[in-house]
Every structure is written in structure tokens, then in C-alpha cells.
Amino acid sequence: MSKAIKIMLAGEGGQGVQSVAEILAEAANEEGRQALYIPNFGVEQRGGVSLAFVQISDDPIGSPKFQTGDVVVALSDRAVYRTRQYVGPETTYIYDSGMQGAEGELPENAGRLLGIPAIEVAKKEFHPRVFNIVILGAIIGATDAITLKQARAAVEKKLGYKFAKEPSLRDLNFAALERGVGLVRTSPEPGVATRVNADSDGAGGKARAAESHVSSHSLTGGQS
């Protein structure tokens, strides 16, 4: 029985957390794998931290939510606080390094802390709205949960109607996706904070590719 890879995302409403989760799960499903995505939902219509749980496996998936993520992504200071309980010694913790006031709050027990300048990169190199696509790239880079090819297809499926009207958006999104992969794969680069805790080897091999300098062209599969 192979273990499911468990990914949890948290951010402010409007940051696109749910879209990233949906694209990840849809892409895995398109590969013929088992995938489960569930948003956290409550009575609030606006505001609050938006949480999403994604699991990808080759076997039937257990409970929809989980206690500890292999990868936990926090995109705002409030999200950092909200995600602490889902972090364990084997968790790869991805956060935006440009966040104010979160540094002291980061979960010290995480196996690996990956701070990436996603907001800054999106703003300076692309467009602030592709921020979540940069994050999607970073998750793929850190986990190999899905292939880049499938990620592109899933982005196309989700945003194709926008690309049809404005074809340049396609290149923008795909470039942002690859930039996200590059942010975690070619670290350390300026602005990328990486720390691997000595007593842990990461999420059981699932986060194995993060240290290596793999070019995005050689991405073929993530089935561990």
C-alpha cells in the first residue's frame, strides 16, 4: 500500500488557495491516480483564512482531512498561525518570505522550512494575479506530486476560457508555473530561505527533489 501524499494550503480569501488545490487534484485525477480535495468551509461568506486539503495516491484515499501534512503551504501571517497544528517533523513547510510579522511564528518543528518570494516574483516579473500559479509551481517543485505537463493541462482546463480571449495570459501563467518550480529547485538563490532540519530526511522521499538542480524539462512523473 503506497502512502498518500498530503498537501494542505492556507491563505487569505482571494489568494487563490482553493484554485491551486483544485488544479493539483484535477491534474492527479487526469493522470488516472486517486485524488481528493476538500475545502474548509464555514458560515462566513467573506474573510477568514481559507484552507484546502489535497491528497494524491495510487490507492484508495482514507479520511478527507488529515492531522499532519507532508507539505503545508501558508500564504499569510494569519495562515501561518492557522496551519501550525498540521505540521510535523516530516513536513515541508512552504511560506511566502515577504510576509511581515510571521518570521517568529514559523513552525520550528517542521522537517524543512522553505521561504519563497512568490508575491514579489509574481508582482515584479509577471502580474500579481498569477501569484497562486507561482505557488502551484513551488508545490510541484517541492513534491513531484504531479507532473508539470499535467499541471499545464489542468491550468488550461481551468483558465482556458480566459486564454481564449487573451492568448498572452497562457504564456504568462505557464511561465509563472515554471518560475515557481525553479524557486524551490534552484535554491538557494537570493531571497529564498531554505532550512532542512538535521534529524529528518523530509517527507519520506516525497520532497526529495527540492535540493537537486533538476530542470523543468526532465519532469516526467511523481509516482513515489
Binding site: M1, E22, A25, E26, N29, Q34, A35, L36, Y37, I38, P39, N40, F41, G42, V43, P60, I61, G62, S63, P64, K65, F66, Q67, T68
Partner: protein, 366 residues
């Protein structure tokens, strides 16, 4: 009218609420009556989006009482009618569905359990087991399927229409907020292409011929003046119900022989139970699982035999003892020790089930 909804089998990736809407279409349901309540709203939303394309109808009523009674009226006029609700809506739904029990009306209701009591959370629980199995002012002459996956949500929604129309008891599909909102893969299919015959609907009232001459009179009552008259009518229904229990009761179990501990769970919690049992068995720990698929009628003989086979039983549920009450009653008299893991209104993971099993078997993780 007979247009096939699903031309060929296809893999889909969607929410449980969307699955229910597709399944109702595939079962050739004709009309939905409903009133909004989270987390079942999207059943209505998807149905209203899909229904007009296939000549089906929808009516939003003023509350769940009306939705239930309208669904009862729908089936009396010979339409495959259904409704869906949750939480406090399920409480209101009990009055019309008690009438459906009394008048033997094949109403189908999909329940997506949310936190309780009262408004509580809109999210998730397994706290509507009491209500859904025995919620009326009667004997619970109804069928309740508790699903665990999107595939089952599809399969059992189709089956619920067949069960209801074949046996003429109200039939429930018991899901929950997690199943409602999560997305996972399943295969959509046309039931008849798989050899599943759809039971034909027929009107209760307005039948052809003269009553008493060409056919027995159609007399559907929910009011009785005499105690004896009621007793006779109810005992006839109870006998009908008891006769079909062996055909209706469904369960799933694995590894019972030689197991020391049996873990019992239903619905979405069964996913965690199955995973925990697989992990423990890989480590040589003698555990098995047993999952009632029908909570009403419960697979009583199989539960009794399970309780004779194992030394200990662990009942796991996202409620404080609603499944446990059903199971302990079923195994009454057996020697197996009963243990519990109750987390009312919150999800349960395989890790928690595994830890509790280790505690009971005194096999701590090294």
C-alpha cells in the same frame, strides 16, 4: 423523456453534491423538491442546472416540511420525486417522512449530515443517525444507506430509487458535509447499460378502472380512529419490513477470522477505519473491520456473529454513540468487550483509529 443521461461510462472528478444530482438523473428521477440548507445546497443547484436539459422539474418550497410533503405528493401522482436536506432541515423532514412510512410512499431523501444539535456547524458530522434511522413517531420502517465514497454516493442514490419503489418504504441516502463538498474520482454510468433494471414508477391515485370492480380501491390514510385498526395496519407493515430485511441489509467486512479486535465504523469514517486496519495488519496486529452499509435495517445476524468471533469491538463515529447504540443493541448477549472512539461533529483520521486500537490491544507504537 427516455433520453439517456449518460451515453457511455466516464470517469468524473466532482463534488458529492454534484454526484447526487447526476445519480438522480441516471435513476430517471423526475422532480426534486427542496429548501436550501448547507451542506446540501449544491444538490439543488446542480439539479436545477441539469434538470431542464432532460425535461425534469424542480420546486423550491417554503421550508423542509413542504419539501417532504410535496415529494410525498409527487410519488402519489406517480412521479419519481426526491428531496435533500441536512441538520435542522432533517428534523422538519421527519414529519412528512413519517407520513411516507405510514402510507408506504417511496420518497427518496438524501441527507448530508452537518454538526448538531440545532444550527451548530454547517460542516460535518455523523450526528443524524438517530434522526435518519428512527426519526419519526413510529418504528422506523425505512431504509438508510450510509455511503463512504463518491462511487457509492452514485451507486446508492440510484439504488435508493429502486429500493423505494420496489418495497414502498421511504429510503434515505445518508451522506455528510465532507462527502458533499469534497471532490474525488468516480465512474458515471447508465444503470441499464450495466444490467441494473430501473423499477418503474406508477401512480398511487387516479389509476385506471373502477375501484372495487376492476381493482382494489386506493385508500391511503395516515389517520385511524380505532386502536385495533391501527395495530392491524402497523403489524402488517412491520411483517412486510421484517420479511425484506435479509434482501436489504448490506455490510462490508474483512479479516474477521482470527482477529482479536473488530473496528466498526460507517460512512466516511469507514475510510479511516479501513486504512487503520490495513496499516495495523501489515504490522501483524490481528484486527479486522466491519462496516454496516445499511444502518436501517442493520445487518444484525452478521454483527452478532462478529461479536461471537472477536474478543473486542471498537466502535468509531463522528457522533457521541449514535452508531454505538445500534450496534450494542444488535450484539446484545455476546461476550465481546465494547470500546468506543467518539468525536461528535469532527472528522476522524486513520491515525486516531490506529492509536485507539493500539491502546485497547495494549500494543503501543515503539
Amino acid at each position: 423523456m427516455l433520453q439517456k443521461v449518460i451515453q457511455e461510462e466516464k470517469r468524473a472528478f466532482m463534488t458529492g453534491n454534484e454526484v447526487v444530482a447526476w445519480a438522480a438523473l441516471a435513476a430517471r428521477a423526475e422532480i426534486m423538491f427542496g429548501y436550501p440548507i448547507t451542506p446540501q445546497n449544491e444538490i439543488m443547484h446542480y439539479w436545477t442546472r441539469l434538470a431542464p436539459k432532460y425535461g425534469k422539474s424542480f420546486l423550491q418550497t417554503e421550508d423542509e416540511l413542504s419539501a417532504g410533503f410535496a415529494a410525498a405528493g409527487g410519488v402519489m401522482s406517480g412521479r419519481k420525486a426526491f428531496t435533500a436536506t441536512a441538520g435542522t432541515g432533517n428534523i422538519l423532514m421527519q414529519e412528512p417522512l413519517s407520513m411516507a412510512e405510514m402510507m408506504r410512499l417511496p420518497v427518496v431523501a438524501v441527507i448530508q449530515q452537518r454538526g448538531g444539535p440545532s444550527t451548530a456547524t454547517v460542516i460535518y458530522s455523523q450526528q443524524e443517525v438517530n434522526l435518519t434511522t428512527m426519526g419519526g413517531n413510529g418504528e422506523g420502517l425505512r431504509i438508510v444507506y450510509s455511503t463512504a465514497t463518491h462511487q457509492e454516493l452514485y451507486d446508492y442514490t440510484i439504488k435508493a430509487f429502486n429500493t423505494a419503489w420496489k418495497y414502498r418504504f421511504p429510503t434515505f441516502v445518508l451522506g455528510d458535509g465532507y462527502q458533499a463538498k469534497m471532490r474525488e474520482p468516480l465512474t458515471l454510468y447508465d444503470p441499464e447499460a450495466r444490467g441494473i433494471q430501473l423499477v418503474e414508477q406508477e401512480p398511487f391515485v387516479g389509476q385506471k378502472g373502477s375501484p372495487g370492480k376492476d381493482r382494489p380501491p386506493a385508500q391511503y390514510r395516515n389517520t385511524y380512529n380505532l386502536e385495533e385498526e391501527l395495530f392491524e395496519k402497523l403489524m402488517s407493515d412491520v411483517r412486510d419490513y421484517e420479511k425484506i430485511i435479509p434482501e436489504l441489509a448490506e455490510f462490508q467486512s474483512s479479516g474477521v477470522e482470527g482477529a482479536e479486535l473488530a473496528i466498526v465504523g460507517h460512512g466516511v469514517v469507514f475510510r479511516a477505519v479501513r486504512e487503520a486496519v490495513n496499516v495495523l495488519r501489515e504490522q501483524g496486529i490481528k484486527v479486522c473491520y466491519f462496516r454496516p452499509v445499511t444502518l436501517r435495517p442493520l445487518p444484525v445476524p452478521q454483527l452478532k456473529s462478529l461479536a461471537g468471533e472477536v474478543k473486542k469491538i471498537l466502535i468509531v463515529e463522528s457522533a457521541y454513540g449514535q452508531l454505538a447504540r445500534l450496534v450494542t443493541e444488535a450484539v446484545y448477549g455476546a461476550n465481546a468487550e465494547i470500546h468506543t472512539l467518539f468525536k461528535p461533529g469532527v472528522g476522524i483520521t486513520s491515525g486516531e483509529v490506529e492509536a485507539r486500537a493500539r491502546e485497547i490491544l495494549q500494543k503501543p507504537l515503539h
